[in-house]
Symmetry: C2
Subunit: 163 residues, 2 copies
DNA sequence: TTTTACGTACAGTTTATTCTGTATGAAAAT
DNA sequence: ATTTTCATACAGAATAAACTGTACGTAAAA
């Protein structure tokens, strides 16, 4: 009773680690899968993952694809092995920050652009109809654009630091 | 057809703004509600929100509570008004960053603590059973703790900067 | 060529989340 | 004191997300 099985240990680690990974917008399945791959010594096949996590192979396939799209997981070759093997990117911080910052930057800049276009449109039609309401909306819109500007600049700065 | 109704404009703004707000882990309802409150000139009642967003009053009540817990929205007093009035915190960036960074810091530090405890436990029992597997797990665990350390320190740094 | 083994598309099911309507208690109005 | 108006708790309905099993295409093995 003094030396618990390694499985219990890894379970406990995975449980805590997964919670953090979910903060990077992984689903709980993705998070658990990544955690398991990371702790695991060797690259794993879809069947092994399914077995280990008690989920279907299909589910592992889609989850691995998501993780792979985020560059958190890599496919790996092994001589004479027919099945696909995957392993976790070992550079935890770098990999997750890249994925996360990229996601923010892309979204923020995209939305900022859309908002700017609305603003330009508004400015163009301003002369016609000088309603108080529209003026206030335009003020708000500019604040919202500024908000996006600051988000973008914050994440760009972080990106630089992490270089 | 040249001067669209203000409602169409605000809808479009809300649509883009909400997407960004969802990145701060608001649900789409919360995001839309906040966006509407922010763009709106005056503080609103639950009934007005429900009317404006086409949702039930109950739904507004719970959403407002969530936003309020995050200090994104404030209750406001108006003489002789019986209903509760709410308005959006006008300091967009500050308010959202506070909420967001706080959430990360709390989670990261909590999980780091749990992981450290596992590690201490492992170190204590290391002498007994020097299995290769356990050694590797311990290595991984230390990397995971380091990962948490870096997350914490990054967000603390951001918190300082935004001061 | 035929057979076997693999990954994944897809449809249907299960599970989780979000939303609504009714009910209740508190406070203001009558 | 009674009635009305409000916010929210709660249970059930609607919606969305996650998971599974079957089926299919591809590629290796026989």
């Amino acid at each position: 009773m003094n030396t618990p099985r390694t499985e219990q240990i890894t379970d406990k680690i995975m449980q805590e680690f997964s919670k953090t990974l979910e903060m990077f917008d992984l689903t709980s399945s993705e998070a658990r899968l990544f955690a398991h791959l990371y702790i695991s010594v060797k690259p794993l096949t879809l069947d092994e993952m399914a077995e280990a996590l008690g989920k279907s192979k299909t589910s592992m396939s889609t989850n691995i694809r998501s993780l792979s799209d985020l560059n958190l997981v890599t496919r790996v070759w092994k001589k004479g092995e027919r099945k696909d093997l995957y392993q976790a990117n070992s550079q935890l911080f770098k990999a997750f920050m890249n994925a996360y910052i990229g996601k923010w930057l892309e979204a923020a800049s995209h939305q900022k652009q859309s908002l700017k276009e609305i603003n330009i449109f508004l400015e163009g039609h301003e002369a016609d109809e000088i309603s108080t309401e529209l003026t206030i909306i335009e003020e708000r819109l500019e604040d919202i654009i500024e908000f996006h500007r600051r988000i973008e600049s914050l994440f760009k700065e972080i990106k630089m630091e992490e270089k």
